[in-house]
Amino acid sequence: MSVSAPVYPTRWRRPARMLRDRRWRLLVQGAALAYLVLALGSFEVEWSRVVEGLSRAQRFAHGFLQPDFISRWSDIRQGLIESLTMTLTATVVGVAISVPIGIGGARNLVPASVYGLCRAIIAVSRSLQEVIIAIFLVAMFGFGPLAGFVTLSFASIGFIAKLLADDIEEIDPRQVEAIRATGAGWWQVLHYAIQPQVMPRLIGLSLYRLDINFRESAVIGIVGAGGIGATLNTAIDRYEYDSAGAILLIVIAIVMLAEYGSSYLRRFLQ
């Protein structure tokens, strides 16, 4: 008996990962589409209000196109100084607190109890959005940049400690093993084997957080935590869209500056 060459198919379709049955797939897709249509239909659109809003948008746009830096300059200046001060101090304090918590949140360095505690602190800090913390802290400390400083410090902890802890968990364990094998103590292992591996990342994260804190300082000012956000809020309340436009332009310029500055600095890492 002669062996014939095997016949291979000429058509191939990517196999379905979920719901292998085609009818099920169609049903689920149809249900999702129906839900989307119904959900969109539940918004009541009042066209008169939309039209009114459009004319207001026109006034915004008009104000923003002719920004007024002059007439409220002393308010803007004070808001900027407050914002920059709370951004810098909150980042420094936040990083200082984050480093020990980040180390404690790395599973490969500490016993399970410390790990659990530090990860819990991180989770609390991360689950509370800046605006919510700011509302509470303004209620506690009153209006002004102190509430903003504490808010941003607290929010920085969740961000930096988590990313630092994750980075420590991914270091090269062989370098740690080698330093441990020399008879080094825990602190020496931390300083000689772990710090060199995570330092560039920590500096990068801190610079990035500096950016974020400045942007957030503009948001939390709106709920009373001082800074440029408070100035912006006042300007909008007074229908001074030209001053508001000026403030937004300044915020954009500073964020851009921070962006270029930090990417320039990060080039020297690694």
Partner: protein, 292 residues
């Protein structure tokens, strides 16, 4: 060469006060229930370099990591001098680890530190934290670090970052770091696994030389049997966590190697080695032709 042979014979015969390391019924069972080592016992006298051979998974790596307790053994005794390393507490373990230098498979240098810092890290067990933190090591340590870098031929690279060096150079830094500890015992884990054949021989020769200079005993995990036969004073063969051979490199014959690696795997390894050697000879011949 003659003196080396002499030492080999002497080391094999003598025992008692020249013994540095005495392993007694060393056993390691992992939490998963896998037995990595079963009743491993042997003695390493001063100045002897012992090659540990065996297929991967035989427990070579576990064995040397048990000695400095990077892995905790489940049973048995590890006598370094008259101290049982299997029993010591944390603080004493740190003190004992200073006496055990270790050289690693992929060098395990701290990549972002300078060569000098890597060598000085061998002194960490001897200096207080603040001195290591501020990099103010005692003058004697620094002088010794320079001397070791000179010995391994890297004096001019002291201020480079470790990741700027080639593989062979990195392993030389690894050797200098281990020697900076002024160890009483050297543990060497596959020192040549990530190096080319020529560099492998240079590194192996350097390890043997520094051990001879200091009368330092060493245990070398090595998967390359011909390399082990060429350089080691004595061979211990491990299979499935048990010692199946212990003797002079010359006593390693086909039967013994078949026993350690399994007959089929051993002949495959030998063929591979011969192919490597032929390729290398071919390369050097062609290089010679180019030079001419």
């Amino acid at each position: 060469m003659g003196t080396e042979r002499c030492r080999t014979r002497r080391s094999l015969l003598t025992s008692g006060e020249t013994d540095v390391l005495d392993l007694q019924q060393l056993t390691k069972t992992y939490a998963t229930g896998d037995t990595a080592l079963r009743d491993v016992s042997f003695v390493v006298p001063r100045g002897q370099v012992v090659g540990l051979i065996g297929p991967s998974g035989a427990g070579k790596s576990t064995l040397i990591r048990c000695i400095n307790r990077l892995v905790d053994p489940s049973g048995g005794r590890i006598l370094l001098g008259d101290i049982d390393l299997a029993q010591v507490g944390r603080a004493e373990l740190r003190r004992q680890r200073r006496r055990i230098g270790m050289i690693f498979q992929e060098y395990a240098l701290v990549e972002r530190l300078t060569v000098m810092e890597n060598v000085l890290s061998g002194r960490l067990g001897y200096v207080p934290f603040w001195r290591s933190f501020t990099r103010r090591f005692p003058g004697r340590d620094i002088e010794n670090a320079y001397r070791l870098l000179d010995r391994v031929g890297l004096l001019e690279h002291a201020d480079k970052r470790a990741d700027a060096l080639s593989g062979g150079q990195r392993q030389r830094v690894g050797i200098a770091r281990a020697l900076a500890q002024e160890p009483a015992l050297l543990l060497v884990d596959e020192p040549t696994a990530s190096l080319d054949p020529k560099t492998s021989r240079q590194i192996m020769r350097l390890i043997i030389e520094v051990c001879d200079e200091r009368d330092l005993p060493a245990i070398v995990n090595i998967h390359d049997v011909p390399l082990a036969q060429q350089f080691m004073h004595r061979i211990v063969g491990l299979r499935a966590g048990e010692v199946v051979f212990d003797g002079a490199p010359t006593a390693l014959d086909e039967t013994v190697l078949g026993d350690i690696y399994g007959a089929e795997d051993w002949s495959a390894m030998r063929r591979e080695h011969e192919a490597d050697r032929d390729a290398e000879e071919d390369t050097s011949r062609r290089l010679a032709e180019v030079a001419r």
